[in-house]
């Protein structure tokens, strides 16, 4: 069984911008180990010479004319913001 460690789960939680209690970390470690363990079945398949599918349709860059069109007004863009100030989204200071 591929063991996922508590430390790995804590690292992934940090990358995912999630925080957990000790007990939750424990639970996630168990559940993720099980799912990852299950995912190991994929290794039964030889995929050495198989191209990965990123997308089922063969779409490349889709371009359009760069014309100015009406877009969302500032007031509307801010309508659902939990906190705003001077017509902008408000966040805690990121610079000292």
């Amino acid at each position: 069984m591929s063991k996922i460690t508590k430390e790995q789960v804590e690292h992934v939680a940090d990358l995912a911008r999630l925080s957990f209690t000790e007990a939750e970390i424990e639970d996630f470690t168990n559940q993720m180990s099980k799912v990852i363990d299950y995912a190991e079945v994929l290794n039964e398949l030889d995929t050495e010479n198989v191209e990965p599918t990123t997308h089922v349709m063969d779409v490349r860059n889709v371009l359009r004319e760069d014309n100015v069109k009406p877009s969302l007004q500032r007031e509307e863009a801010l309508k659902n913001a939990p906190k705003q100030k001077d017509g902008q989204f408000e966040v805690p200071s990121v610079l000292d």
């Binding site: 799912v35 990852i36 994929l42 969302l72 913001a81 966040v91 805690p92």
Partner: protein, 480 residues
């Protein structure tokens, strides 16, 4: 008047002949919702005042198209301007979109009356509706059982006769599985056939919006209205939309059906198997032929899917950070604000998938998990291509079982994931598939799944409609 006795076209005739007003029709929808929704919890938000105002306005006009004045319910991950859209998540409890999804524009231009937003597993992650942050929607055939998911509310509402049609979304079976559990018709279109603009993204390479209806005919009408290229979705297919309704009432003599042995094998309930074999016999009677085939890589689909869908979800759900919309919890600094807002706002299953996806995409594991799953996805696509080179449709059950009891599987994510084993491969391959009612097992509906080549929705409607005309399954209704 009851929606059980009507189709879109019979309703349209009644509206045109002034046998019923649009106001009466809308009132009927809200009346039925009020009678039944305490039991089934299909709706999260009702838009009664605006719907009735629109109905009164429409009553002053000429009914110029089939959808004119028809009440509809919309899955709550499809954005509706000015109407709360939660995605079944308390994180978006107060979110009021400032624009409409493209599918909403397509319905609104025909004057559909939106009555409200439908319950779902949080951010479409689930197969039972038990992951809704609000209430678990219930199966109208037996309210101790789940309606399926993630579009559980969308299927339950149609099955309960609350509205003539709804829209759902399908990433790994989220339209077909609840349609199967609730005894209604649900179609997942070919990837790219319906615009995803305004569908809150779960896994962008898999998500598709599709119709849930009581009959195959109605389903074809709804797809006809919502399908087509959209400049606002660069993954929408820039090709002409076929005439779906002309595929109805056709003969299926000579149709070649493939039955994958993996779809009737281990893990499929005897009752489900029996109904599928009866359906096959019925289609044979109608002139179709069938052969057993193999989709050898099917058994790898669930593992590949959970890696790929979770990876895409972990990226898509990064936008919920407590700054632009949704729940915000203040923190010591910006990073802490993100973490607190997300940790309080998301439910367990969503966190589980974000964690799995972040892991699969993280440095050192990307090749072993994410890329490996993408390669397996190629093999699964090739399985379908290969079989559909010699056959018109692939046939099997939609789900290996009937609707399970609320609480029965909720403690074991892996067992729950395996319920989607017959629907997930189709999303990975991108093909269209439909679930149609094919009878009952222990009092609960069984769904027949038909899968066709990409952009061959016509074939699905042709076969499903021939089957529906030859049987009585869509005429049965639940006691509520």
């Amino acid at each position: 008047m009851s929606f059980y006795d009507e189709t879109l076209s019979s309703l349209h005739t009644k509206i045109k002949n002034k046998e019923v007003t649009i106001t009466e029709l809308t009132e009927q929808s809200f009346k039925r919702i009020k009678e039944t929704d305490d039991k089934i919890h299909a709706f999260l938000t009702l838009d009664e005042e605006r719907a009735l105002a629109k109905a009164r306005e429409l009553d002053e006009q000429e009914a110029d198209n089939l959808f004119f004045g028809i009440p509809a319910g919309i899955k709550d991950n499809i954005v509706t301007k000015g109407l709360r859209t939660t995605c079944g998540s308390q994180l978006l409890d107060n979110f009021e979109p400032v624009h409409d999804a493209t599918v909403m524009n397509r319905l609104n231009e025909k004057n559909v009356v939106t009555v409200g937003k439908l319950n779902m597993d949080e951010f479409a992650m689930g197969s039972s509706n038990e992951n809704s942050s609000y209430a678990t929607a219930r199966n109208p055939w037996n309210t101790d059982h789940v309606p399926g998911g993630s579009s559980g509310g969308s299927a339950a509402a149609v099955a309960a006769g609350q509205v003539p049609f709804t829209l759902g979304s399908d990433t790994g079976g989220s339209i077909r599985q609840p349609a199967s559990f609730c005894g209604v018709v649900g179609l997942k279109p070919t990837y790219g056939r319906v615009s995803r603009f305004g569908l809150v993204a779960f896994a962008s390479s898999l998500d598709q919006i599709g119709p849930i209806t009581r009959t195959v005919e109605d389903n074809a009408y709804v797809l006809q209205q919502i399908a087509g290229h959209d400049q606002l979705d660069s993954t929408s297919a820039n090709m002409e939309v076929a005439d779906y309704t002309s595929a109805l009432n056709q003969d299926i003599a000579g149709l070649r059906i493939a039955v994958p042995k993996e779809y009737l094998g281990e893990g499929v309930d005897e009752g489900v198997k029996a109904r599928i074999q009866e359906a096959l016999a019925k289609l044979e009677e109608l002139g179709a032929t069938w052969e057993e085939v193999s989709l050898p890589n099917s058994k790898y689909a669930v593992a590949a899917y959970y890696l790929l869908a979770s990876s895409e979800a972990s990226a898509n759900l990064a936008r919920f950070d407590g700054v632009r919309y949704g729940v915000r919890k203040e923190g010591e600094d910006l990073l802490d604000l993100y973490k607190k807002s997300r940790s309080e706002g998301f439910g367990d299953e969503v966190k589980r998938r974000i964690m799995l996806g972040t892991f699969a995409l993280s440095s050192g594991y990307y090749d072993a998990y994410y890329k490996k799953a993408q390669k397996v996805r190629t093999l699964i696509r090739e399985d379908f291509e290969h079989v559909l080179n010699s056959f018109d449709v692939i046939l099997g059950p939609t789900v290996p079982t009937t609707a399970f009891k609320v609480g029965e599987n909720s403690n074991d994510p892996l067992t729950m994931y395996l319920k989607d084993i017959l629907t997930i491969p189709v999303n990975l391959a991108g093909n269209p598939a439909i679930s149609v009612p094919c009878g009952f097992s222990d009092g609960l509906p069984v769904g027949l799944q038909l899968i066709a080549k990409p952009f061959e929705e016509r074939t699905l409607y042709k076969v499903a409609h021939a089957y529906e005309r030859a049987t009585e399954h869509t005429k049965v209704k639940p006691e509520l």
